[in-house]
Symmetry: C2
Subunit: 181 residues, 2 copies
């Protein structure tokens, strides 16, 4: 869980990143930026800020903000009711992102994990995305990503998004963010 103060602070900081990336959003969108702590209560290290532009039955587009070395924990998007899981393209707009997918383990990866979390990060094939670079993930592919030292702004183009169905490697994760006063 996070406090209302932490939530407000993260939303304000996310707006600064949208500005750095020259991404214009409406006043209504400023209000509905989401902050995800994945129920871990350690937003600084494992967390994500996001703005969903559109999410219909067929397709979805979001902007993601990650603060310096902030990490979106390992997960996958499984098939649901016979429909293939979410297919995602991540396109880096600003900063730098380290994306990890199944495949040959990268020696000396850039990512820094919080102490004691190593067992929840199992795929280590590193893809570095700088502004203008992108990567498309097939459905149901384990992945996680972390921003570099300056943070990152990433556009996500995908099929329908149903975050509540994501399967995380860390069993302690709850996708819904709980806010306390």
């Amino acid at each position: 869980m996070i406090t209302r103060e932490q939530l407000g602070q993260a939303k304000r900081l996310a707006l600064e990143y949208f500005d750095k990336a020259s991404i214009v959003i409406t006043p209504e969108e400023r209000e509905r930026i989401e902050v995800a702590d994945f129920g871990l209560g350690d937003l600084e290290h494992e967390g994500l800020e996001l703005l969903t532009y559109v999410n219909t039955r067929r397709c979805c587009a979001k902007e993601l903000v990650l603060f310096p070395y902030q990490l979106c924990p390992e997960h996958r998007h499984p098939s649901v009711d016979g429909e293939p899981g979410k297919e995602e393209t991540f396109r880096c707009r600003w900063g730098e992102i380290y994306l990890y997918v199944p495949g040959q383990k990268t020696e000396n990866p850039e990512a820094k994990l919080p102490a004691g979390k190593e067992k929840f990060y199992t795929v280590w094939c590193q893809i570095i995305l700088k502004p203008g670079e992108q990567y498309t993930l097939e459905p149901d592919t384990l992945h996680w990503f972390q921003a570099g030292p300056e943070g990152a702004v990433v556009s996500e183009f995908s099929t329908r998004s149903r975050d509540e169905l994501d399967v995380f490697t860390d069993p302690g994760i709850k996708r819904e963010t709980e806010v306390v006063d």
Copy 2:
């Protein structure tokens, strides 16, 4: 058809618009910007510059560039083989766009049509999109759009794109651009 010189000029100008919108693209992407004259040979008035980021069986993302008052002619995306037509969200990133869809005719619309083309533009419910504003079109909806006086950069988030299946109101349109030396 357009000449190779016109093609090169339009691609270079499109790059300037990406710069104005602070959208970073890779050297490979700079090379593959598409220029569509819709077979009309009047790129300045009816035409579109586009960069497709991703287009899979399930989803698609593009950036569109329109020069000042450049116009994407009226068309729709029909169902194909039992699959609903393309669903599109247009998000203005820079400049201004006038989008026209079915519904109550807007009095004194902003758009300017080339002389003699009025009969190929049949829907006149105007939606003005400024940076950060967006609109989602249901499949098979007639629509057309024109940039304002400064031109526009527009992100398109959609289901699979199959431009060759688009149905244009103007029977003179050919979606493939023919380039002559």
